[in-house]
Point group: C2
Chain length 152, copies 2
DNA sequence: GAGAAGTCGATCCAGACACTCGACTCCTCC
DNA sequence: GGAGGAGTCGAGTGTCTGGATCGACTTCTC
């Protein structure tokens, strides 16, 4: 259950992009400097996001990157899927694709429930919400409990 | 957000172990055969579970492995932590340990909420429940919706 | 009681894969 | 043209998965 550096970097870059209300393109170099992301790695991440239609690239001088669709329409789940594939996978397979023998097939239900649980959080959080610092109830209700912040 | 083979194998082996109501020890060779787990890999996984006190090993002829504490007291979360470390980590760091700059610090709340969300599922599901096929409400309520089974 | 057999325990090795990052090339606008 | 920037390619590193070997320990059998 680990979040890759790619997903984290992608989200941070998008937050920075969405904060530019003017809609001007931002260079990858600047994004990398603002969020301390290695330039080459960020380039590959932005390419993934471009293929998913999340961002648009513009070459040439005064070129750069900007949102491909409104930041309110891009969820955290969209970004993770574009950059890292399915939300949850069981060593390479999607939860609904893994096969177990009779005694272990209940495990599949657990993985499906886990994905459902993550979707509740990731699909209801948009990039715009992150840029504004206005988190949805799906997040705030789960972080209110102090126990949620203890190491687990 | 991927489940490693180690966690999956560990859970399958434990389900098989907990199904032996007689409390007799089961050899690693038999566990591996029943659940199609590579023998050497399973040996390493069982060693991790032993260090966590989840299982007990017995050498010698008619030796093998058995539960170290009641299967009702071992949750899926316990197993994942014993075998793969923290439930969710952001490229190596625990969610509460990652540091962001001002504009991105909201991301930490998202990761905390995600972990809280997973704990709701994994901590309420015991090995005994899996062995009996009697899943807790935390799981059944999330898998009831047909949409939960669609690829995401 | 001695030997044999079965089992865990630890270590090393290797291929595959993903992660991380830098260097170079090509395109676009001034 | 020239400069700034996207686009592509590839290398180094680490982790995951799996196999093999040798040693230690316990029980069973004769």
């Amino acid at each position: 259950m680990r979040v890759s550096a790619k997903s984290d970097y992608a989200l941070r870059a998008l937050i920075e992009m969405a904060s530019r209300a003017d809609g001007k393109a931002v260079s990858a170099e600047e994004l990398g400097r603002l969020q301390e992301i290695p330039h080459g790695f960020l380039q590959a991440i932005l390419a993934d996001l471009r293929r998913a239609g999340v961002v648009i690239s513009q070459r040439g001088q005064s070129g750069g990157w900007r949102m491909g669709r409104p930041a309110t329409d891009v969820s955290v789940a969209d970004v993770i899927r574009a950059v890292d594939g399915p939300l949850v996978s069981v060593y390479g397979l999607r939860p609904e694709a893994v096969t177990y023998n009779e005694s272990a097939e209940v495990l599949q239900h657990v993985w499906i429930a886990a994905r459902r649980s993550l979707r509740d959080v990731f699909e209801q959080t948009s990039i715009q919400a992150l840029a504004d610092g206005k988190l949805p109830k799906a997040v705030t209700s789960r972080t209110a409990d102090e126990d949620a912040w203890q190491p687990h």
